[in-house]
Symmetry: C2
Subunit: 233 residues, 2 copies
């Protein structure tokens, strides 16, 4: 039987936890159905991340022109560079239009939206970029993950694990998804409990998080004022 | 000021989420104190993982002989091969003895224990290897993460995120740790709630998880009957 390929797109300065959370969740689907789960990059060369370590993908975009599912992890400066990089955007548009599932983690949804794939769809992203997501044509929705038609988008970074489990359940059933949850022991006990969003507001964390990146964002988008206006309205 | 190096040890067939969970949590400590957070491998060559993609560490063992903290991610066959690989074990013993913090995720604690670093200490690991951990001289404890002296060990795979936040709080204070939690949006909402351990027991998941690996474990440890007896008692 022909495999249904679940392709995780990697690109420079990706956030590894965005990638690895749902990848660790979805890889076992290879044991439960006609799935093949791979990482794809523009070239088979080491890709920088925001953690120092680099990643080597298994396939190129050209190797996987028609994936069953396309998954976009996010980052901070990575996705902003990505939306200006035509080889990546051409792949996301083409593979995404044909895919039966479009998934993202964190600011990966900005890449899907910039490719025109989330037009009018409910979607989410990291809380600090929700407004920007709306500028790119999606309907920003503040949930841990959001499903709208073929799109399933997760909130920031670690939310990719929850989204991955929801997607695993859709593709292979709840029993498989619950088994995977037990195997990766996703039984969270954050030391300080859930995120205290009132505390985040009081600490003005959005400003302190984004402000240091503004000059770099302006530099990356110097020749693309229409994108800059959407990202830093 | 001399940097306090937090060294994440990578080795063939490591489980990426074990590595990347606490790495994504602890990397931002570089902005909040005299910390440097790096991945270390035996060589600067691509390292296989249990997900297909490979990882390129930034430093070699020889580059980082005396880390402030040593972090061991786990895996399935990876750690079993690791405890038979003397260059890695020599590094773990030597760097671990001098380190002020010994951390692990999942079966990474088996490597620490096999190196003699958890003798008599309370520690944890993936639920399917808790008995084996006791065979290697630690006091197995079923918690999300366990602190005993300089050792802080996490349960399976995703538990490294919780452990990382606890360690971040110890090293840089609760405000920093809570900020990192918000940045990685660790506000878990597993689609089926917490792991239902009674369901895991009923599904006999430990047996179905480990049985397929038994022949490979026996092969890896063919010349090391004393290790085989501890891992598959």
């Amino acid at each position: 039987m022909e495999k249904k390929v679940i392709a995780f797109v990697v690109y420079p300065e990706v956030t590894p936890l965005d990638l690895v959370g749902p990848l660790q969740v979805l890889k076992p689907l290879e044991n439960f159905g006609p799935f093949e789960v791979v990482t794809v990059g523009e070239r088979l060369e080491p890709i920088t991340t925001d953690l120092g370590m680099r990643i080597l993908p298994e396939r190129t975009f050209a190797d996987v022109p028609k994936p069953f599912a396309l998954v976009l992890p996010g980052g901070v400066l990575g996705p902003i560079q990505a939306i200006t990089h035509e080889p990546l955007m051409a792949y996301v548009r083409s593979a995404g239009q044909g895919a039966e599932v479009l998934a993202s983690v964190c600011t990966g949804s900005l890449i899907l939206a910039a490719a025109g794939l989330l037009e009018g769809r409910k979607a989410t992203t990291h809380w600090s970029f929700l407004d920007a997501l709306g500028q790119f044509g999606a309907q920003p929705t503040r949930e841990r993950w959001v499903e709208d038609g073929k799109a399933i988008t997760a909130a920031g970074v670690s939310a990719g694990i929850d989204m991955g489990l929801a997607l695993a359940s859709r593709l292979a059933g709840e029993t498989v998804a619950r088994s995977i949850q037990a195997i990766i022991e996703y039984d969270p006990q954050p030391p300080f409990g859930a995120v205290d969003w009132a505390w985040v507001e009081r600490a003005d964390l959005k400003r302190s998080l984004l402000t240091p990146y503004v000059p770099a964002i302006q530099k990356i988008l110097a020749g693309r004022p229409e994108l800059l206006a959407k990202l830093l309205p």
